[in-house]
């Protein structure tokens, strides 16, 4: 490895100030510190620093996402084999999914990477690691059947409008990956609004998603409708394990819970947001269940434990809502933020007639409100202190 280091040290002057390619310095810097740890030193006290940096924080989130990629690849194969009524081995199923995921993944990274380097070069700052996680998240929240050009446009929108125009990672108001998802959702609603399933490999194949089944019927019982649905197995256990059609990474609730444990364990994501979100969702679902007999809206009767394992809620609350930059940044605020995401999700799912799924909109909505929540939490802290000062 010494030879590589020597070669890179020889190349460095080309990109440094006065070199032929000095405009590309941010790209060079990203490659350089990507291959070798930085050699920056402390200039003032404290003279030693913990070895956690943003790169390591981001790579931990990516580690948490990798099992979802594995499961997603296999599940794509499984769903398409069910649709086509053929039997495949696990390996074959995995390869079917793998061949579909890789192009989406590459398109996401090439598009997003291009924008990151462009903005870093123009602004003359280091290329941020933030896109690393965004790039891993975007393929997981789109269906495998999505056209690649939509991925490219959505990624561009998410990175540029969701993040870069605010100043880049650390300054964004909305979660960039969710912004990308929202863009496809509103720009191409026919393809991705969540009332038709996505199964790849079969033309013209269609079926209802779990959440759209009760939404489409008036005056029924949601749980019975799901249990008696024959095209897919929408039993609670099967949805918990994740062998259902859906976006690539969001179907397996048990794996998401394991990843959530990992993120909490490594202190990368806030458990307050996750627990708050689940509490908000369960409490609101109980409320709607209580109201179900007064209305012919079938969604109101969907039990809380079904809400938890259906749609993208768990994935959203674990990976999207906990984005530390766009979430609330005070601990009290994080509880409020999480709980309100749960509440909003149920409201959109049950009461809004247009969209069967509400997690994405709930999170984006609360992203917009998190500075306001923090404002009042900080005001509370100030008020307490002022009362003590006045004594």
């Amino acid at each position: 490895m010494k030879a590589l280091r020597n070669l890179m040290d020889k190349m460095a002057p080309v990109f440094e100030e006065g070199g032929a390619l000095e405009k590309l310095y941010p790209l060079w810097e990203a490659v350089d510190v990507g291959i070798y740890n930085t050699n920056k030193k402390t200039g003032q006290a404290p003279h030693i620093r913990d070895s956690v940096d943003i790169k390591r924080v981001m790579i931990l989130v990516v580690f948490a996402l990798l099992p979802l990629y594995m499961f997603g690849a296999i599940n794509i194969g499984v769903q398409s084999s069910i649709a086509q009524n053929i039997t495949r081995t696990w390996n074959e199923n995995f390869l079917v999914g793998f061949n579909l995921i890789i192009p989406i993944f590459l398109v996401t990274f090439i598009t997003g990477g291009f924008w990151e380097v462009l903005f870093a070069s123009v602004r003359k700052h280091d290329v941020n690691e933030g896109f690393f996680v965004t790039g891993f998240l975007i393929p997981l929240i789109v269906p495998a059947s999505i056209p690649l050009w939509q991925v490219a446009i959505a990624t561009s929108f998410g990175v540029v409008i969701g993040k870069e125009i605010f100043g880049g990672t650390g300054y964004n108001i909305f979660n960039p990956a969710l912004t990308a998802r929202a863009f496809i959702f509103f720009a191409y609603p026919g393809a991705i609004s969540g009332d038709k399933v996505w199964v790849s490999g079969v033309d013209g194949y269609s079926g209802a998603t779990g959440l759209s089944i009760p939404a489409a019927v008036e005056g029924g019982n949601a749980k019975q409708l799901l249990d008696s649905f024959s095209q897919f197995d929408f039993s609670w256990w099967n949805m918990f394990i994740g062998w259902i059609p859906g976006s690539i990474g969001e179907t397996s609730k048990i794996l998401i819970l394991l990843s959530a444990g990992f993120l909490i364990f490594t202190k990368v994501a806030s458990w307050r947001i996750m627990i708050g979100g689940v509490l908000g969702l369960v409490a609101t679902a109980w409320l709607t269940n209580g109201l179900a007999s007064y209305s012919d809206n079938t969604m109101l009767s969907l039990p809380a434990e079904y809400h938890l394992v259906m749609g993208g809620f768990l994935f959203g609350i674990v990976f999207m809502a906990t984005d530390p930059v766009s979430a609330s940044q005070t601990n009290k605020g994080r509880w409020i933020y999480g709980i309100l995401i749960g509440v909003m999700t149920i409201i959109i799912r049950s009461i809004n007639p247009a969209y069967p799924e509400g997690t994405m909109l709930a999170i984006l909505f609360l992203n917009a409100f998190s500075p306001l929540i923090d404002y009042y939490v900080i005001k509370g802290n100030i008020k307490k202190r002022m009362a003590r000062y006045a004594k």
């Binding site: 490895m1 280091r5 510190v33 990507g34 291959i35 070798y36 740890n37 930085t38 050699n39 920056k40 030193k41 402390t42 003032q44 006290a45 404290p46 003279h47 030693i48 620093r49 913990d50 070895s51 956690v52 940096d53 943003i54 790169k55 390591r56 924080v57 790579i59 931990l60 580690f63 280091d126 941020n128 690691e129 933030g130 100043g167 880049g168 990672t169 650390g170 300054y171 364990f265 490594t266 202190k267 990368v268 994501a269 806030s270 530390p324 930059v325 940044q329 005070t330 601990n331 923090d374 900080i378 802290n381 100030i382 307490k384 202190r385 002022m386 003590r388 000062y389 004594k391």
Partner: protein, 447 residues
Amino acid sequence: MTKLRIKKGYNIRIAGLPADEIIVGNAPSHISIQPSTFKSIKPKLLVKEGDSIQLGAPLFFNKNNPKIKWASPGSGTIKSIQFGPRRVIDNIIIELDHVEEKLVGQSFDFESIQSLGAKVVIDRIIDGNLFPMIRQRPFNKIPDPERLPDAIFISGFNTAPLTVNLELALSERLDSFQAGIDALSQLTKGKTYFSLPGESVLSHMNNCEINHISGPHPAGNVGIQIHHISPLKPGKIIWTIDAQHVATIGDLFLTGSYNPELIVTVAGPIVDSPTHIKSRMGSSINSLIYNKLKDGQSRVISGDVLMGVQSSSDGFIGFYDSTITVIPESDEREFLGWLKPGSSQTRYTLTNAFLNNGNQPFSFDSSLNGGIRALVPIDAWENVLPMDIMPIALFRSIIAKDIEEMEQLGIIECDPEDFALCSFACPSKIELSAIIQSGLDMVEAEG
């Protein structure tokens, strides 16, 4: 007595822990005092190069408050006076004559000290030229002797990495220490607080309120103790003084002269047999680390790794410091280091969770361990700050230079040393401790 358990914080497991024994060090040939290290004073020299000086005689005074003078930490001749940019007096170096001729003033019986009254005590400390040992909160600066404090805080234990074990350092100076507390406690109408981690030889001090405070660093910082026991508010002034300096002031009252004795730790990953050394105020670092450094590039710090000032083996120990830390300077660049979740490095966010590497101390070097990024708030600061302060909101108000909001968020209760762990743990490598200092400077300038 209050018993407090501080939960937030972190003890950095850095290698080179000083042994719990005191050895007598090499007598330094030169000592120094560095006027530029004192904040918000205007030093004016009372000596010139070549003058001979007694131990305890004044070297310079503060032009803003001419009563406050600085004692010479030894007797000998003024070897050189070094100036920095804009004629700032950087360093006054004294060549010791080893005669130790002392400036001797009034002394008192042990029993009579506790009934001297505030005026006599403060005048004696000022006359002994030791008043600069006292610092005030807020702003951690030398106080105005006319405005007596609302309380006095003395921390009886250090929690910062590789610092002096005060129980060990003071065990032979208990009478001086008690005399120091007796004298200082008369300066305030409020209480004199003395904090300890638990029962020890220091538990039987009189004329002070003893509080038991346990927990990881920064529990031993006086700022954290003030925050939990008698918090600051606008208009309130608290004086603090290092425990070893309390004993020095006690000696001033008992003997009438300046006893410059100081127990110093010399420690760090590349120090051979790190230990406590019996040395003196302003000692040359060379006399302390002589023959104790292992091979390799090193960074010599006067003070602990979290708050010390970079010095060199030609330098001198700072006025308020009692630790010399030496860490390796490393240029090594680890290949694909960021991919490893478990290298041998202890990393704060993960250490409390997994990949603990047992309790093995780690040879930290001067690497920043990452690039500077925008704030990504994953609670790295909050987890090591045991104060009811919102660090992110405070950080933003300082960046925005919003003095009113800084004050509302409690900046006067803060001190950079209490935020040093935040800088240490920050994944974005934000210099929060230095930023808090700049905020305090703005508030102080505003008045």
